[in-house]
Symmetry: C2
Subunit: 194 residues, 2 copies
């Protein structure tokens, strides 16, 4: 059975973007710092395929997912990933108000989180479902639809920006750390949501 797994790079102070994120600057002002680890060991600083062994393993797990669930903000700020996040797997874009134009490539708009998870798990078959974006993470957590999280903790305090964990109710959500991998410039923490 497929699991929904949140993949996000987060500063130690909990931010997933710098201030003023927007189209063309999805990570906000100076927020690209959060993706430095993706270029570790690569020839180009713009590489998004880490060459370093441990981070490459985690990255490849993400790229092995069979569907993507994301939010409209993340989706649009990323230029809709040109319609293909990886390997042409279906992309489910959560939005309250789908725009009139169809999204690019393998993407489709979905208005209900439970519906998105059901469709994504079906599409992914025996593979996991990648979840991406702060508000999508919050929606799935609130509705208890998130199974696990792979948080790439970056050793920096951004100070300001968009927080990954925000707008959650005061009821505790218990986690269990199932893996902790130290890699150059990043610590990959894998939690199961209980």
């Amino acid at each position: 059975m497929a699991s929904t797994v949140l993949y996000m790079s987060m500063s130690l102070d909990g931010f997933v973007t710098g201030p003023d994120d927007g189209p063309g600057e999805g990570l906000g002002r100076h927020g690209h710092r959060l993706h430095d680890w993706l270029a570790e060991g690569a020839l180009s600083p713009k590489s998004y395929r880490p060459q370093e062994r441990i981070s490459a393993q985690v990255f490849n797990e993400m790229m092995g997912t069979g569907a993507v669930i994301t939010g409209r903000r993340t989706f649009e700020h990323a230029g809709q990933w040109g319609g293909d996040h990886h390997d042409g797997v279906p992309i489910f874009v959560l939005t309250h108000n789908p725009p009139p134009d169809e999204p690019l490539g393998s993407a489709r708009y979905v208005t209900d989180a439970a519906d998105a998870v059901r469709q994504a798990k079906q599409a992914a078959r025996d593979r996991d479902v990648m979840v991406h974006g702060a508000s999508t993470a919050q929606s799935l957590l609130r509705e208890r639809l998130l199974d696990a999280m792979e948080i790439h903790v970056v050793p920096v305090l951004l100070g300001q920006g968009r927080r990954l964990f925000d707008n959650l109710p005061p009821e505790h959500i218990e986690l269990a750390l199932t893996r902790c991998l130290e890699a150059p410039g990043v610590t990959h923490l894998h939690y199961d949501v209980r």
Copy 2:
């Protein structure tokens, strides 16, 4: 030379208390969840001396510090620790407006962060200085007076409460992970502040 080291238990979503923290409930509503790891392996659930090997090591390092810097809120919510946080080492309590009454035991009020750090390092001699409390951490970070952090990351999302990292400027503060220890119910991350 002594280092200033922040010791704090923090939920994965960045909180160091639940909502409505106050005198007699320093950790806020249900915030005691953050201290569960302190009782790991102990006979009493109210133990604040972890028996589990790894957490005991980290705890003992904290108890080996030669001075404490804290904020007035933390200090008062903790009942002034009866005037003795550990081993009678001096406690420097940062506050803008010192109250007329002298604090208990080895504590004293200090109005300036740099002054507190200078006095505390002098008192600690070759030992480190324990820093405790969210607003004190933020003051020292803003003034670049913090040398290191030992963050006890607790596998729970509290959802609401007081954040450890808040009210910081948008200038990045770079960190370096120098140790990562997995223990039952907690992950101890040690960062040097660059």
